[in-house]
Symmetry: C2
Subunit: 504 residues, 2 copies
């Protein structure tokens, strides 16, 4: 027996086609959409909006919107709108290849900010008014409240602030997701803020559904389409080595009494290396772990299934098609163990610090002094964005950055003399891990960090060249607290641009 | 009638000379001392310790300690120990010229960390054990509790963790400071942390004195000496212009409804420019302001006296001799309006975010994309350290960085193509102010930030050169999200080293 996912009669009356809903969005609007790492984004309205934009453009007229989301979305949203040249401004995070190209050609304005800052900066009025919110939900309850789907992101803020709201009800999403969410309604603007009453990663402090003034809901669209479900690469030797170094380190910290036997809540970035770390944890002997993170990906579902992880708090999913099937089939099991929150809570500095999260994120490069570049290839070409890495690196118990020691067939060293862009300063980075080994930077001066990074993390092909730079800088630098030879500091990057390799 | 400042009989029996107390510190020890921006540091034991270290060195034997404090201290502490070559490792902040020279010669290990991280990183075990704490207090109560003097800093943590404690009781400090402190004893290690119950900058959440196991107190030393009392420079035209731009901006934000009429709690760095901002606020028409900051300097006392500022929360003072006299004379008035906290509370990310502080800090340079260098001259020579600027820039409502547009007689531009060291990334910087004007970077892409920084903040002598770099980079850069010409990006700094000016 199939139950209508729209249980509120008034809102059922507002069901229209995606095309009709998209027609409610006007040129120049600020549009805030749902979506976080390819989950829970609207599937139909953005595609129709892109079509309409293309048609308007074909007539020689302008049509662009300012677009905000939770984080990255999928081809049907960022891809379609970027291809249509329909985005004047994008924030706070994206990973779409077409959008990325436009950003790096200087044709699309992109603002890359900490995910924990997004909601509050919009509330503060730093981004003007929100004209339209387009939000995917899994169901509308009889009382008109909205059950989120597979991401929460900034949906609470978008619904609170938007002048008009378009809701997509996606029947592809499991109905059993109802009850998994925890929407905190205790936020306020300063000077009226109060402590957030969360002291364990699995505390419930809010509602299971989103509130929305039904008068603002101008259209409801029925959809039935999958989240973006990119499969992960099979775990390779490099990722496995990185995972193994990190897990060995965590065990060492437990032995030294600096971490409890079940660690502290884990935060894990998204991608193949974090997935390998999660797979490594499955075999590590650790038990009763917790996650307080942004995104649940395949490896974390497995840890929950096997009881290695007791529970996980997140704001979205990034699952392969197989993992998604397993998630849907066992939704009752996972609903007991997963709590989905707004991203202002999942990434909140207050909570990340209180819980003492262990942050594990990827990086593009790190310099010998521990400054991490998470965003810009060769200092100028943005890859995705900082996402939540800063929220966890600054405020957690430990911040680990993980990467293979080389990229692009060994032509790029992930350890460089000077980072060509800095997203995480030397003050925020505790541990660097490559397949070569782990550098524990805690309590070290810049010069000592350099030696341990060169010795433990750099690829042997680049080690002599790094050592040579560091030795000469240590002799010749103007100041010797953080020695550099300025004319050479970025020469590795320029050499790669000129010759295709950083090798000197 | 003079009352003995040591009201506990047991501890009165432990009074010894500073020389005898210093003799209790052994080579290789980790010694944690009080002191924050030249207030409340021990005045006698460090001098005697330096003398003893010199004597041991004269005999050809090694003697160094690892030294931790709250922040910077004074010649009698950092100066004396650095001159004696008695410091193997120093953290978390210092500003002594001799120590600075040794650090930049590569002879003194210095670890520059966020002030909000210090206590917790020591509790986490990242810095090993603390052998001795040397803490200045204004009095010892009958019950043995210790009344802090003019700074609290990390004293709670040092007293809790040290194996042995030396207390200096400084009669120069006003007895009336008793009651001004608020020592929070609710901190814990994760996973046992709870919300910090502070919702207004003037909430009291702790004790007025420090607890210490009397069995650990191995020596008590009587002193009678002043805090470091450097006078501020008279306010010059440049500082006045910077202050005026910032205050105009704050008024504009109030008018736009983004800030309440009495603003949000102010944090102010220490120095002549912040002092000018405070002087400007005195004449601004603002009333009922609050401060939640690290340090109270002259201008803030004046604001309190005049009722512009209702109350101020801090962890230490930096007063000129005249201001210090006024403070002592009116201590009863100021005790009602000033709360001194541990620095883990004064700088706590949870509280800075909850209160929505307005951060105002100095800088060395900012690049055209909004990355701020607070610490390293020409990227390599450390000036002081990051201090608490990162705690407020990342977590506050707004983060403003202030500087004259040029330094060293106009040979150095504070706006550069690429920051030679990054302490505050583009993600953490809202507003830049020079005497030329103010750049509001909120909601701008890197390229838009560049144009507004060049137009509003750069000195006219450097503007054409900056514009030329930005224009060429915008055409020729590999990626055009954050355009750079890598071989030129740091050439201004090298030119200054080579020729004495950044002017091309």
């Amino acid at each position: 027996m199939s139950v209508d996912r729209i249980a509120n009669a008034r809102l059922r009356d507002r069901v229209v086609s995606a095309e009709a809903a998209a027609a409610l969005i006007q040129p120049g609007e600020t549009v805030a959409m749902s979506g976080f790492t390819g989950s829970g984004y609207p599937k139909a309205v953005p595609v129709e909006l892109a079509r309409r934009i293309e048609a308007v453009h074909a007539q020689g007229n302008p049509f662009q919107i300012k677009l905000m989301t939770g984080a990255s979305t999928a081809p049907e949203l960022d891809g379609a709108l970027a291809k249509a040249d329909g985005i004047a401004m994008r924030m706070p995070f994206q990973s779409d290849p077409d959008a990325r190209n436009r950003i790096n050609e200087g044709k699309l304005d992109y603002i890359d900010i900490h995910l924990s800052h997004v909601a509050q900066h919009v509330w503060f009025g730093f981004y003007g008014e929100i004209d339209t919110a387009v939000i995917e939900v899994s169901a509308i309850r009889e009382d008109g409240s909205l059950v989120p789907s597979t991401s929460v992101g900034n949906n609470k803020t978008w619904l609170d602030l938007a002048k008009k709201v378009i809701v997509e009800v996606n029947e592809w999403q499991p109905a059993g997701v109802d009850g998994m969410h925890d929407i905190y309604y205790g936020t306020a603007l300063p000077p009226h803020r109060k402590p957030i009453p969360l002291v364990n990663a699995n505390d419930r402090i809010g509602d299971t559904a989103l509130r929305c003034d039904p008068d603002k809901i101008v259209a409801v669209v029925r959809t039935n389409g999958p989240d973006r479900n990119s499969p992960f690469s099979p775990i390779d030797a490099t990722s496995e080595q990185i995972a193994s170094h990190l897990i060995e380190f965590l065990k060492h910290e437990v032995k030294k009494g600096r971490l409890p036997p079940n660690l502290l809540p884990l935060q894990s970035g998204v991608g193949n290396i974090p997935n390998a770390v999660l797979a490594g944890l499955a075999k590590s002997g650790f038990r009763d772990l917790a996650a307080f993170t942004e995104v649940i990906q395949d490896g974390m579902l497995d840890l929950l299934r096997d009881g290695v992880l007791s529970y996980a708090s997140c704001t979205g999913f990034a699952l392969s098609p197989q993992a998604n099937e397993a998630f849907k089939e066992n939704i009752d099991f996972y609903r007991e163990r997963i709590i989905m929150r707004t991203q202002e809570i999942s990434n909140h500095p207050e909570l990340v610090r209180r819980l003492g999260c262990i942050g594990m994120n990827g990086m593009i490069e790190v310099d010998i002094y521990g400054n991490v570049n998470s965003t810009h290839v060769m200092g100028t070409r943005i890859m995705n964005g900082i996402g939540g890495s800063g929220d966890f690196a600054r405020n957690g118990f430990l911040s680990a950055f993980l990467s293979p020691s080389t990229a692009k067939n060994g032509t790029i060293s992930a350890i460089v003399p000077m980072a060509s862009h800095v997203d995480h300063t030397e003050h925020d980075v505790s541990v660097i891990v490559t397949e070569q080994g782990l550098a524990d930077l805690r309590g070290l001066t810049p010069r000592k960090r350099a030696q341990v990074l060169i010795d433990n993390c750099a690829h042997p092909d680049f080690r002599p060249q790094l050592q040579d730079y560091f030795d000469r800088a240590s002799r010749e630098s103007y100041g010797k607290h953080t020695p550099h030879l300025l004319p050479e500091a970025l020469s590795w990057h320029q050499r790669w641009l000129d010759t295709g390799t950083m090798m000197g």
